[in-house]
Symmetry: C2
Subunit: 170 residues, 2 copies
């Protein structure tokens, strides 16, 4: 493994004996790293969703490359969130959430945006932890959809088991 990579030592310290990171370890590690900054730390539920996003072999754990991929995605989402949350209240409002989703390159129609924003709001505001959970799901579901939409027609055929495998874990 890349001995020159500064994150490798960090990863091995967190992962422990089995060389992989589970949801509890991820939560501890993200808290210690302070990636949430002045926002509330990530819930265990969000950490599980993060792992599920990258866990193609359904072990419930995360190796080094997946960890680095997640780290990059988290930093991008945080930057995006900060750009929208001007007053650093730790929340974004519904219309700002719409903007944020569009700026990530997703093309969604208004009812879909509305359903998403409602789901991740508390009293009409979206907190950082829920924002990240939303971004993770949106990315994982879009990835799963695109992998099956080989003709890029915006339409996919799912059999029942495949549909559940794509959706139950996240």
């Amino acid at each position: 493994y890349p001995a020159g990579d500064p994150m490798w030592g960090y990863f091995t310290a967190v992962a422990g004996q089995d060389g992989e990171i589970d949801a509890e370890e991820l939560q501890r590690c993200l808290s210690q790293a302070g990636i949430h900054g002045s926002y509330t730390p990530f819930s265990l539920e969000t950490c599980r969703i993060m792992i599920a996003m990258l866990d193609r072999d359904f072990t419930g754990k995360m190796g080094f490359n997946e960890f680095k991929e997640l780290w990059g995605a988290l930093n991008a989402w945080k930057q995006n969130f900060c750009a929208v949350d001007h007053d650093r209240s730790g929340t974004v409002e519904p219309h700002e959430m719409n903007q944020a989703i569009l700026s990530m390159g997703y093309r969604l129609n208004p009812p879909t945006l509305n359903a998403i924003v409602k789901r991740y709001s508390k009293n009409g505001r979206i907190f950082f932890d829920d924002y990240v959970a939303c971004c993770v799901k949106l990315r994982a579901l879009t990835d799963a959809f695109r992998r099956r939409d080989s003709m890029q027609q915006g339409m996919v055929n799912f059999i029942y088991d495949d549909f559940l495998q794509c959706t139950m874990a996240i």
Copy 2:
């Protein structure tokens, strides 16, 4: 509204002025009702998923009929969980979870079962709160799938926005 229904007074007391129950109110109400028994109370996340399961109009809230439907489902799931959790440890183990899912009438292949069990386990055990979250999702996703599988072929065509509307909220 059914004045003779003993749950109506209870519902209105919880719902307050707007006559609907949101996730925070649901969490409080289920805790007070003690439906979790000797198990840990429901997390806010699980309460949000419960509402999303029944919330066809995407308001993020629940009316009286939906509340009664949820109440019935919760009692059935609790009974099912107790039947599997013989020693009342508050957890079921993976092979018992497989059994529980099959006994609810779902026909899933082994990789799907495996993915589901991994996702809802902590250290190889499934707690009541996660069990219910799993049941809610499985039911909501299966309902969404079946509504679109009008020929009952076990296969559905999803366009991207519809796929996200079915899956992002739960």
